[in-house]
Symmetry: C2
C-alpha cells in the first residue's frame, strides 16, 4: 500500500465524524467519489420517507388541514431555527423560503433602507452599494437591480480592497463568505467591523460556508445574511434559501417584498400592510412545502454534530487532498487556486489546469465527481459529513491518471 | 330519494368528466366532500410515485448529473409550456418558479418599465399603478412596494371603476381575474382593452381562474399574468407560481429580479448581466426541483381535458349547489355573494352568514370542507375534475343541518 493510502486509512480510522456517513445515500462498495456536495449535497437517508409522508398523508389525506395540523404554516421560521445554530445565530432571526437570489434582493434593499433610516440626513446621502467584484454572478446582478431601484450606484470591489472603498456614501456591502470559484474564505469578523466603522450595513452570502465551517453571525454582529440550503446543508435540488436579520434590526427591516406571509395578521386579509415582528418579516408568499419539509428532514443529520468538528475535518480533508495531489501529479501540471492558510480556506479545493473541461469530463466518467467552472477551474468540494480520507486519496489518484492521459 | 338527490344522480351519470375523479386521491366511500380545492387542490394519484423517483433516483443516485440528465435545469420553461394551453397561451411565454407574490413584483415592475419605455417622454410621465381595491391582499402589498420602488403612486380602485380611473398617468394595472372572496369573475377582455386604450400595461392574477375556466391570454392580448399552481392546478402545498410575458413584449421585459437563471449564458458566470431571450427572462434563482416536479406530475391530469368542458361542468356544479341551498336552507339565513350571471362567476360559491366561522367549523367536523374568510364568508370551491353533483347536494344538505343547529 502506498504511503498516502496508508495515511488515508489511519485518518479514516481516527475520524470522529465517520459514523455520519451512514446518514447519507452513497455509492457504497463502488469506486465512486462524490466531491460535488458544494454544488448539490447528497441525499440524507431520512429524506425519502419523510417526503412520502408529506405527500401521501399530509397533502393527500389531511389536505388543507395540514397548514395547521402538520405545521406547514410555521415551517419557514421553525426550519430557520434549525439552521440558526449552524451559522452561530440565536433563534428567531432566520426564515427559510424563496431562492438565494430573491433573498439577496430583500437583504440588499433592506440594508440600504437601514443605512438611510439610521442617521437622518446623513443617512439619506448614502448612495453606494459595494459588492464583491469576484462574487457569484447572481449576487452582482441582483445588487445592480437593488442599486437601480434605491437610487444607488453599484461599486464592485475585490474583497481585499473593500475596507479602503468604504466611506460616508456607502449604504450597504454585499460579500461572499467563501468564494465559489477559488474556495477562498474571507475574513468575516474584520470585514464586518470595517463596514460598521463606516456606518454602513453588511450582507453576507453564506452559500459556500454554512454547514462547512463556523460562521458566528451573532458573535460578529453581522447585520443580514443569506444562504442556500442545497450545498453543505443537503436540502435537495433548489431547496429554499434563508434570510438572517439580526434581532436588533428586525423592527427597522423594511422588505421590498412585503408579501402576505410577512403581515402581522396574514389571515386578517387587510388591505393595508403591517409587517410582522421578528424574523417573519422576511417571509413573502406561500412557502413551497414539499421542498421545505425535505430540507427539514435533511437537517436531522446535524443533531449532535458540532460545526467545529466539521471544520476540523474539512481542513484535514483539504490538506490531505492537496498532499495527495502533490504526491501524485507532476509539478506544474495543475495550480492550486485555493489559499494554503487555513484561515483563508473554505471547504473546497480548486485546481487550475489548461484542459480543465476535458479533465473533469474524464474524471466524472471514472466516478470522481467534481465540477468544472469556465474557463480553467476544477472544483472539488469536501463535505465532511460524508466524504472520507480514502475518497480524497482516490480522487487525487484518478486525477493523476487522467492528467497523464490528457497530456503533459 | 329527494328531488335534488335524484337530479344529482342524473347529472353525475351524464358527466363527461366523471372519469377524471379516479386521477385523484379522495376519501372514496366516506361522506367527506372536499370543497377547498380553490385553496389547495387534492393530490393527483400520479404524484407520489413521481416524487419518490425524483428524490431517490434523480437526487439520490444521479445527484448533480440530474440538472441535465433529468431535465431539472429546463423544468421552469418546460412546465410553463404545460400550463400554457390551460390559460390560452402559445408555448414560450410562461416560466414556473417563485411564489405568486414574487411574480407579482416582477410583473408589476416589469409593466411600469414597459409603459415608460413605450413612448419616450410621454411614457416617463406615467407614474400611477392602478390596483383592484378588492384584491387578494398580497397583490396590493406587493404593488405598493413596486410603486414605491418605481416612483409611482398606488391607486386602489374597485374593478368596475377601473375604466374610468385610467388615464395618461397610468403605467400599470394589476387585476384579479376572479375575486378570491366572492368568486366574482371579472371581464378580462374588456378590462384589458380599456387598459390598452389608455396606453398602459395590464397584469392579470389568475390564481382563482387558471384550471377552472378559459382565460384566453393570447386571444385577448394580455401583457403579463401570474398565478399560483396549488389551487385548480393541484400542484401541491406552496407549489411554484408562474409568470406569463406576452411574446412581443419579452425583448423589452426588464425584470427587477435578474437572477443568474435568467442570464443569456448562466454558466458563463459573467460579471455583467445580459438577459436571456424569451420567457426565460422571467426566471430568477435555482428552481425548487422537488416542488416543481411534483407540479409537473400533477399536470398529467389535464391530458385530453378541454378547459371548456371544465368550465361547463363548473357552472353546472355551482348552479346546482345554489339550487340545493335554495331548496334546503331557510330563506334569508344565508346571502350569496357570488354573482348569479355565468359570465360573472368563477368556480366557487361564497355565502355570507352571521356566524360563518362557527358554521364552517361544524361543517368541517362533519366532513364538508370549505373555508371561512373573515368576517362572515363561507367559501365553497368547485373543482370540476374531482367534485361531483352528489358532493354538491351533500354539502348543501349538511349546510342546512348545521345552520339549523346554530340558530335561526
Amino acid at each position: 500500500m502506498s504511503e498516502p493510502k496508508l495515511r488515508a486509512k489511519e485518518l479514516d480510522a481516527a475520524d470522529g465524524l465517520a459514523a455520519q456517513r451512514a446518514e447519507f445515500v452513497l455509492d457504497e462498495g463502488g469506486e465512486a467519489v462524490y466531491l460535488d456536495g458544494n454544488s448539490l449535497g447528497a441525499l440524507p437517508v431520512a429524506v425519502p420517507g419523510r417526503v412520502e409522508d408529506v405527500v401521501r398523508r399530509q397533502w393527500g389525506e389531511l389536505r388543507i388541514r395540514s397548514w395547521t395540523e402538520s405545521g406547514w404554516w410555521t415551517a419557514p421560521e421553525r426550519i430557520g431555527d434549525r439552521i440558526a445554530p449552524l451559522v452561530g445565530a440565536a433563534a428567531g432571526q432566520i426564515v427559510v423560503g424563496d431562492s438565494t437570489s430573491v433573498n439577496v434582493f430583500k437583504a440588499v434593499v433592506g440594508a440600504v433602507r437601514l443605512a438611510r433610516s439610521a442617521d437622518g440626513a446623513a443617512g439619506l446621502a448614502r448612495d453606494e452599494i459595494v459588492v464583491d467584484a469576484t462574487t457569484f454572478p447572481t449576487d452582482g446582478y441582483i445588487a445592480e437591480s437593488a442599486a437601480r431601484m434605491t437610487g444607488c450606484t453599484l461599486r464592485p470591489v475585490p474583497p481585499s480592497e473593500v475596507p479602503d472603498a468604504l466611506g460616508e456614501r456607502t449604504a450597504a456591502v454585499l460579500l461572499n463568505h467563501v468564494d465559489y470559484r477559488t474556495g477562498r474564505l474571507h475574513d468575516l469578523p474584520a470585514l464586518t467591523a470595517a463596514v460598521h466603522a463606516a456606518g454602513a450595513y453588511v450582507v453576507w452570502d453564506l452559500c459556500h460556508s454554512a454547514g462547512a465551517l463556523p460562521v458566528g453571525l451573532d458573535e460578529h454582529g453581522v447585520d443580514l445574511a443569506v444562504g442556500c440550503t442545497y450545498k453543505y446543508l443537503n436540502g435537495g435540488p433548489g431547496s429554499p434559501a434563508y434570510l438572517y436579520v439580526r434581532a436588533e434590526l428586525q423592527d427597522r427591516f423594511d422588505s421590498p417584498l412585503p408579501g402576505w406571509n410577512s403581515h402581522a395578521e396574514p389571515f386578517g386579509m387587510r388591505p393595508g400592510y403591517e409587517p410582522a415582528p421578528g424574523a417573519l418579516r422576511g417571509r413573502v408568499g406561500t412557502p413551497d412545502i414539499l421542498s421545505m419539509l425535505a430540507l427539514e428532514a435533511a437537517l436531522d443529520v446535524w443533531d449532535g454534530v458540532p460545526v467545529e468538528a466539521v471544520r476540523a475535518k474539512s481542513l484535514a480533508l483539504t490538506d490531505f487532498f492537496l498532499e495527495c495531489v502533490e504526491a501524485y501529479v507532476p509539478e506544474g501540471r495543475v495550480e492550486c487556486l485555493t489559499p494554503a492558510p487555513h484561515e483563508e480556506r473554505g471547504s473546497q479545493v480548486t485546481l487550475r489546469c489548461r484542459d480543465a473541461g476535458e479533465v473533469m469530463r474524464r474524471l466524472i466518467e471514472r466516478g470522481v465527481v467534481g465540477d468544472f467552472r469556465h474557463p480553467d477551474a476544477l472544483r472539488f468540494g469536501f463535505t465532511p459529513l460524508y466524504v472520507g480520507f480514502a475518497d480524497a486519496e482516490r480522487a487525487a489518484g484518478m486525477l493523476a491518471v487522467v492528467l497523464a492521459e490528457t497530456g503533459p
